[in-house]
């Protein structure tokens, strides 16, 4: 996240990496081709197209931010998938399925998304092109696979709705997987995470919402046979409730993180640690954890633990000079860690975080039991920051790393130190640019 924040300050085009550009170029070309085709041919069922396009636009307007800054537009995606899977609108199964081309689905989706994104741009928020392109790929997968077969007897014949249902389910899952793949490729690239870890995180986090969106899309499709376009309007109700639930969830998660970040600074204000120490340690620890391939849930615990790793110092009557825990005795380190863990475990909900804080004072090697990897990371990141501080001096960082390396026989985990020097090297390189 830290790296993405840095990117946000750059002009959009400079922040754009090759993966993003490739995605946008490919999707852009597809959309241009789709619009050209759709305007040349006649739009089938223009009324339906307008109805679905409007819902897509509304859905895009009501975008949702999920954990880790992921963007979703559940209502828009559900409507677009439903349009791609559409059978009949308000007609009995004896009627033929209207011939809606896949390219028309893409046109309607792209136009709807763009219209929905305009207010965001007008309000000065990012247009979210990458997110829109990713979602459009999922819709395109489903549309290209389903539109050609939608009119066949086996899919749309009376009395065997379940065949259509199974085909739809498979296609929606494929579309969802495609979206998760692209999103995690971009994310892995942005954050320097491993693709396999990023994909797993993406799938885990998107699964609940993805399932709701996919099933909703199929329900809209089947309900449309009986309810016609009214179904689309009626379905907005439950979709909105779901959206509100997710928005509240995402909102409280974000506030939670902000609060811990802010309150972790009490040690700085109290003069216990150097200004910015907690935040630097947490950024460094998260980067090292990512380098080591930790999953997102573990990274969040690690971030909390790193932010609060010095909170035990509050119980000390007087601040340690300079606040550098690396310089105090092992006994004091252990006491601070224990006190900190005690404070955190009082919350009753952060037991894993408390455990990480408690074990940070243990030597990384030869201690029985072995401290968890998060604790080993915090121990190294904390030592590094105590030695280097906010300085960007290359020599100072190199000296500190050398000193930590010498201690890998007992104090620090060699794997963690290697990852740390990797991260520190990348940072210096990016600063020099």
């Amino acid at each position: 996240m830290a790296i993405r924040q840095a990117d946000d300050r750059l002009p959009a085009w400079q922040a754009m990496d090759s993966g993003r550009l490739l995605l946008l170029a490919a999707v852009g070309m597809m959309v241009v081709a789709a619009i050209a085709h759709t305007t040349a041919a006649r739009v089938t069922q223009p009324q339906t197209a307008i109805a679905f396009g409007s819902v897509i636009a509304i859905g895009e307007l009501l975008r949702l931010r999920q954990q880790g800054g992921r963007e979703a537009a559940p209502i828009a995606t559900a409507a677009a998938l439903a349009y791609a899977l559409l059978l009949r609108v308000g007609q009995l199964p004896s009627h033929p399925v209207p011939h809606i081309a896949a390219l028309q689905v893409i046109t309607v989706t792209a136009v709807g998304m763009t219209v929905g994104a305009l207010p965001h741009m007008a309000a000065g928020r990012p247009a979210g092109l990458t997110g829109m392109a990713t979602r459009l790929v999922a819709v395109a997968c489903v549309a290209f696979a389903f539109r050609p077969i939608a009119g066949t007897e086996i899919i749309s014949g009376a009395g065997h709705w379940w065949i259509a249902f199974i085909v739809m389910t498979v296609l929606v899952v494929i579309g969802w997987l495609a979206e998760a793949m692209i999103a995690s490729l971009i994310r892995a690239d942005d954050l320097g995470a491993r693709f396999s870890v990023a994909l797993w995180d993406e799938m885990r986090i998107q699964l609940p919402l993805g399932a709701a969106v996919g099933v909703s899309a199929m329900m809209i499709t089947f309900a449309a046979e009986v309810m016609g376009l009214t179904g689309l309007a009626v379905f907005m109700g439950p979709l909105l409730v779901t959206q509100v639930a997710f928005r509240r969830y995402a909102g409280i998660s974000a506030t939670y993180l902000q609060t811990v970040r802010a309150l972790a600074r009490v040690t700085e204000v109290g003069g216990y640690v150097e200004s910015g120490h907690s935040r630097r340690v947490s950024r460094l620890a998260v980067a090292v954890g990512r380098e080591l391939g930790l999953a997102e849930a573990d990274l969040l615990d690690l971030e909390y633990a790193a932010l609060m790793h010095d909170i035990g110092q509050l119980a000390l009557p007087d601040p340690i000079p300079g606040g550098a825990t690396v310089l105090v005795s092992a006994e004091d380190q252990r006491r601070i860690a224990e006190l900190g863990a005690e404070v955190i475990s009082k919350a009753g909900v952060l037991d894993r975080v408390a455990e990480l804080v408690r074990c940070q004072s243990w030597p990384s090697r030869g201690h029985d039991p072995e401290p968890p990897v998060g604790s080993r990371i915090i121990r190294a990141a904390n030592a590094f920051d105590d030695l280097v501080g906010g300085s960007t001096d290359r020599d100072r960082a190199a000296t500190a790393l050398e000193r930590l390396r010498l201690d890998t026989a007992s104090e620090y985990d060699p794997g963690v130190i290697e990852a740390l020097s990797e991260v520190a090297g990348k940072r210096l390189a990016s600063r020099l640019e």
Partner: protein, 449 residues
């Protein structure tokens, strides 16, 4: 629901008799077909599943369940009696911890409201049975009316039983604040009832299974929200406690000021969101005190001007810490100005009267009250009556009289949990000698020459 009074039992019995009297005569009429009973069974199952996994809302006593979608699907597919029967299975709810009275009442209430919805639907010309394409869109209107009737009868009956089983005011106020959200999600999911009915035409009872997926996802998200919120509050409290460990006598102060501020906020009818924000602000109002050197807090004699300045700046240090939290700006203002006085002699800005933000005027009262009713190193805790007297004396000069009166009223209604009597601290290092919050013992500052 605690113990059930006789009046409440009579009320519950009346609801159940009403439910039975609308359902019984029709069941003795011409027998329904097997299809009708099969659909009824599936919808009952759907209702039970929805009803058995309710999501606790923020306020603990109300839980939300999407079962109205099953009842309203029954309205369309089976008619008023079917809807009443579907609602009646609420008696069997798999939720544990339900008392018999609650079960019976829930069954009766859901049956009556289902029946009312069904009658409304039929009365306005809705056709019972599998919907056909030519039913749409006209069917929307009777259906919408049925959904509204369902919600109104449901909430009305619920309100009645709450009146009979609860006497204390504050909880009722909280309950009311969650009603708009309940109404909105109820109506949103009521719409799903029509979708279930339409899907039934295409795919039969499988429609009920399909609808469970989005329902459970929404429920999952709501559950996650509730859990995160609880975790959030607990974490904040733990961190504030950590800040307080530095000062032996003020332990628990943040939590009590938070509670007191919440009491005042509810008493003056503040909106639920703002009440929540002010409780967080009350919790965090003194975090900036960490920036005050320990030796200043522990000093027994008069303070030098520099030392006094360090104390005066603590609200600003607190603001510095919490500024980045995505808070209501009001909460930040409350933290920053909680030591302003109405007559303009407070700090850090010296604001007077209405210049002082409302949140700050609320927190100031709770803050001073808790300080006076807690033990300090230089005095015993004062009695509540003395502290109230002192607040009244300060009303208009130090405190906003409106907030003082609101607090006193809330104290009479809700009571106050006094801090545990502090024994003499084991280690002298955590004792502050002067309390900057105590209006009866103002900080003494050495006049500069």
């Amino acid at each position: 629901m605690g113990r059930v009074s006789r009046a409440a039992w009579i009320y519950i019995a009346a609801v159940v008799v009403a439910a039975a009297s609308v359902v019984a005569p029709r069941l003795s009429g011409p027998p329904m077909g097997t299809g009708w009973w099969l659909s009824l069974g599936v919808l009952m199952l759907l209702f039970l599943i929805c009803d058995s996994v309710p999501t606790p809302l923020a306020e603990r006593q109300s839980a939300w369940s999407p079962s109205s979608s099953a009842t309203l699907a029954a309205v369309v597919l089976l008619g008023p009696v079917g809807a009443a029967l579907v609602g009646a299975v609420s008696v069997l709810g798999l939720r544990r911890k339900l008392q018999l009275a609650e079960r019976v009442f829930n069954g009766g209430m859901s049956a009556v409201s289902g029946f009312a919805a069904g009658q409304t639907f039929v009365g306005l010309g809705g056709r019972i049975g599998l919907p056909r394409p030519d039913d749409f869109p006209p069917i929307i209107w009777p259906f919408a009316a049925a959904a509204a009737a369902h919600v109104i009868v449901n909430l009305g009956l619920m309100w009645g039983v709450l009146q009979l089983t609860r006497s204390d005011g504050p909880r009722r106020i909280q309950m009311e604040s969650s009603v708009p959200l309940l109404l909105a999600s109820d109506l949103g999911y009521a719409a799903l009832g029509l979708v279930i009915a339409a899907l039934w035409t295409v795919m039969g009872p499988f429609a009920a299974a399909l609808v469970l997926v989005p329902l459970f996802v929404a429920r999952w998200a709501m559950g996650q929200f509730a859990e995160q919120r609880r975790a959030y509050g607990a974490t904040m409290e733990a961190l504030c406690q950590a800040v307080e460990t530095k000062d032996y006598y003020t332990r628990g102060h943040s939590e009590r000021v938070s509670r007191g501020s919440g009491m005042i906020a509810r008493q003056i009818g503040m909106h639920a969101d703002r009440t929540e924000a002010i409780m967080f602000a009350g919790m965090l109002h003194d975090v900036g005190k960490l920036g005050v050197p320990t030796k200043v807090l522990q000093k027994t004699g008069p303070l030098t001007e520099e030392e006094f300045a360090a104390i005066q700046l603590h609200p600003l240090r607190g603001l510095e810490i919490v500024r980045e939290i995505g808070f209501l700006n009001e909460a930040l203002a409350g933290i920053m100005h909680h030591h302003e006085k109405i007559d303009g002699t407070g700090y850090p800005m010296g604001f007077a009267g209405d210049e002082i933000p409302e949140f700050a005027r609320v927190i100031a009262v709770a803050d001073a009250f808790d300080s006076m009713t807690s033990t300090r190193s230089y005095r015993e805790a004062r009695r509540m009556s003395e502290a109230i007297e002192e607040l009244r004396r300060g009303a208009g000069s130090q405190f906003d009289p409106v907030m003082v009166e609101a607090f006193i009223a809330a104290l009479h209604r809700e009571g106050w949990r006094l801090p545990e009597r502090a024994a003499a601290p084991a280690d002298r290092q955590t004792v502050t000698a002067q309390d900057h919050d105590d209006p009866t013992a103002p900080l003494r500052v050495i006049e500069s020459l």
